[in-house]
């Protein structure tokens, strides 16, 4: 039996293009004389569809797509993910389902059992879990078809009381097939291999795992579909961060006719150790994920041109380099917006950067606009001393100028805030926090440096001076980030403990952190919740990004 995994990039709600893409893969499968095509979770509508699922109109369009695709399955089996209606009066209205289509018919449908409802996932908001299980029979083989999270409880996951494969294994299936929409974070690739290996070792049958690829606003799906033999050896691994088609021949004796990519022992050794935090870890993956995030945001929104405020600092330099890689240098417009407090090298560095990148770059001085603001505010400000208010006016003048150019020419403003700044509120709302999408909002400052070095790995793209100089917002004379913040190496480590590891001050002290710096940092995180609430979507690369996956009250007194 020839099986093809179609690892594809979908557009949420764009039924026409998703259906077309699926049909093209099926036609290619027919040419290759495949018996069965495996697609990914909710591929019909794209994942995650969120509250679109509450619209009957949306569900009808899903069903229409199934009908169209069904009519292309003469002689070929097709497994696709799609919501289906729960016909019973009891339970939520929908299931998250997998359809087996064959010879122009819907042959079988199974439903997802384990519905992730944590971090960025809200599946229990929409779906009823499966309460009965059966294998699908296709060409004499028994297929244990599950959906994504279904294979993530091997009896030791406290989120769930059920293990669907324990139910399915009673039917003595020949192979496990999992349709997935498993998002990327820098811990994920090893975790995923480990859990699949553990399933194969437990159930002793092969596993075919088809993941989706592509970015959906903030969430990146990295592909990397997998095929394991029954001895838990890795036979096939799909490409990461791009579409792919993977062909396997499943033989009558239950084995695959394949070369082993990695043996069971090799895989165990790469398993992720979640207690380790190294800011340089997997910088290459993080870079690729962010490039895909920018690229898909623009292509799926129908945008072409980006604009970036280029300050001569490291955050905007890395943002600009990523944008040029994702969108093409000619489509990325740098705007230099020096203030009276900007040092000469800032402009020089920003100009040198755009020269290296080859992207267009303009300069507008902000002082005349700042002066006009101050003149109009004089009757109200009177003789009050220069403080944060004036700093914010400058940052917002920049934001306004960037948006003015963006609006006039149809560019999209890329935000340059990093996760450390975002965490502690070191930024101006409607100023440097403006933008359509945040490129670096899920990488701490130390990771931004690692990305800069990664970008320069084959030669200098980001001028070394940008990497070496002390970070500064340049909103008052001789300002440096270190005037008001601890060293980024300390700050990032504390933030990692608080955000990713959910450790409070007490736990951090036990880990050896300074109590007052830890408490002060946590307090800053809490006090800036209102700012992040108005921040743009952040391309997610960590296990805990700001945004949909982290929901914290704004009006609160905790930690007090």
């Amino acid at each position: 039996m020839k099986i093809i995994l179609a690892q594809q990039n979908y557009h949420i709600g764009n039924f026409e293009s998703n259906t077309q893409k699926i049909i093209e893969a099926i036609e290619e499968g027919k040419k290759q004389q495949a018996d069965l095509m495996v697609f990914s979770e909710l591929c019909i509508c794209g994942y995650p569809p969120h509250d679109f699922l509450e619209y009957n109109d949306f569900i009808e369009k899903c069903n229409e797509s199934i009908s169209i695709i069904r009519s292309h399955t003469q002689g070929i089996g097709v497994l696709v993910g799609c919501p289906s209606v729960n016909e019973k009066k009891e339970g939520k209205n929908l299931f998250n389902s997998s359809y087996l289509l064959y010879n122009n018919e819907v042959v079988d449908v199974v439903h997802k059992t384990l519905l992730p409802t944590y971090d960025v996932f809200d599946e229990y908001r929409y779906f009823e879990p499966a309460y009965t299980w059966h294998t699908m029979v296709f060409k004499g083989k028994k297929l244990a078809v599950t959906i994504c999270e279904d294979i993530w409880n091997l009896g030791d996951n406290p989120l769930y009381r059920i293990c669907p494969m324990d139910e399915l294994i009673r039917d003595l299936p020949d192979v496990m097939i999992n349709l997935s929409a498993s998002p990327f974070d820098y811990t994920r690739i090893e975790e995923r291999k480990s859990i699949i290996q553990a399933n194969v070792e437990k159930y002793k049958i092969p596993m075919i795992y088809c993941n989706t690829v592509g970015s959906q606003t903030d969430i990146i799906f990295d592909g990397g579909s997998l095929v394991f033999d029954k001895h838990a050896n890795l036979l096939k691994e799909g490409k990461y961060f791009e579409e792919d088609m993977i062909t396997v021949n499943f033989l009558d004796d239950g084995t695959f006719e394949e070369i082993i990519l990695a043996s069971s022992e090799d895989i165990s050794s790469v398993a992720w150790n979640p207690s380790v935090y190294d800011q340089h870890l997997h910088t290459d993956r993080i870079y690729d994920a962010i490039v895909l995030g920018v690229k898909d945001y623009f292509s799926k929104m129908g945008f072409k041109h980006a604009i970036v405020g280029s300050s001569g600092g490291i955050d905007s330099a890395v943002t600009l380099a990523i944008a040029c890689d994702a969108l093409g240098k000619e489509n990325v417009h740098a705007l230099l917006l020096p203030s009276q407090f900007s040092t000469g090298h800032s402009v020089d560095d920003a100009v040198a950067l755009s020269k290296n990148l080859g992207n267009p770059c303009d300069l507008i001085a902000i002082k005349p606009v700042f002066d006009a603001f101050m003149e109009q505010l004089k009757p109200i400000y009177k003789d009050l001393p220069f403080n944060l208010a004036e700093e914010n006016i400058q940052a917002r003048t920049r934001g306004n100028l960037l948006m003015a150019v963006a609006n006039k020419f149809g560019y999209i403003l890329l935000n340059t805030t990093n996760k450390s700044e975002c965490a502690i509120g070191y930024g101006t709302l409607y100023g440097d926090m403006a933008g359509g999408i945040s490129v670096l909002g899920d990488v701490y400052k130390m990771q931004v440096y690692a990305l800069a070095n990664h970008i320069n790995r084959h030669g200098e793209i980001i001028p070394q001076h940008i990497i070496d100089k002390a970070p500064s917002a340049e909103l008052r004379p001789n300002q440096k980030d270190s005037d008001s913040l601890p060293d980024y190496s300390v700050l990032d480590a504390i933030l990692y403990q608080y955000i990713e590891r959910r450790h409070g001050a007490k736990e951090m002290v036990a880990l050896g952190f300074n109590k007052s710096i830890a408490e002060q940092t946590i307090r800053l995180v809490h006090l800036s919740e209102y700012k992040r609430n108005q921040f743009c979507p952040i391309i997610r690369v960590s296990p805990k990004a700001f945004g949909m996956g982290r929901r914290v009250p704004i009006v609160a007194q905790y930690p007090s």
Copy 2:
């Protein structure tokens, strides 16, 4: 048995103040020789605590509060809501629980079964549902204690497969007691009475229902605690939108020694009919809810002064009047920001409004700043015609000036955008969409008019000319909203169908709406998703507000 319901306003995560408040009520209960005090759901930490629940430190603080409160229960029973740890390896880490404290001990704990996971609710994200049930025994009475949603499935709610009261009734309890955190919307008060009445009619025992009160960022809890006798007559009804203590005497024969407020028949007749939409419905309640929302946002955040951009239009007028009511007129600063396109009456109307309200008001002309922007942009804009970009610069200049005054003096900017504008993206990001909290973002334009008339019910506060004139953003010569939008009466009705009722264009046509206006409106809602994503929290008064309760992908192509 004397029972007191304590309907209180909590501060999320502020364990000190919540604990203090609960103890004060207990001491008052002791004075009144109460046998049992009933508090509301998760009163220990405040509701909704969101991802704070993922911090062990937070759960420890909950437990410490229980210990402190416990030591005040000599001779008095106390029912409080608090998260509790699931000691089993299986299932999520926490329960949403109700503790019975008595004589300085934790006497009993029961858990919530039905975990709302829809709209603004995310309970399944954190909590394991109860799988076993028992009544609590207190002073010889059997108490069937449930938590909020637990009483909302009478066998006909497709969200749930379990009905916890069906389990508890087997113990032959004497009374139902429900600890609730049930948020307000303009349909909710009748719905709540109906469901409680239906429970009493089904189980034929009395119901004591204690709700919380107060605003938590965007969500308003309206109080209105209820006591029903076993014949489903309403005996007691707590105040709305304020704290209250309600005393009832529960007699040995299972009845209350009370006067009937409303008979079972009266309550049925007020049941909400969800198919009706009348924009004037319950304007008084909506007004009270928004006032509480503004008031609590400021008091719980520790703010005192608000600033409002006063344009002479109806949205800013209603916002200003509400703010003066909530915060005191001397604490609300109006800032008039006329452009070269503002008509003379705009300034006159805004000045007259602040004269009527008695609040301070300043004026800054925006033209000099706008001109400075245009001068700096000239080398890039060249001779391109005036368009939306220049309109946005004006709106953002206003936003920047409002924030400049706010930042200098520690004021909080109140946003004046209404739900109709917010829905179709008729507003400028970082301009008129700026602000700490949105006062009118959940009321459609026609409801804003109703609120204006409500404010004027005892005499003119909002000058009649503001109510009568045609709405305009005044960002280009002779601009009117009606140049680019359908009549608000039509627009609002379509938006209501799309947002609140989840009807697509096809369903709206069947209801008699114009197809192309419906489709165009839906398209505008979709295209402005990215703007709402960066909008401030909206005080929620409808069953479907923008914000946490409505989660829609930004990068999507639906409706296509």
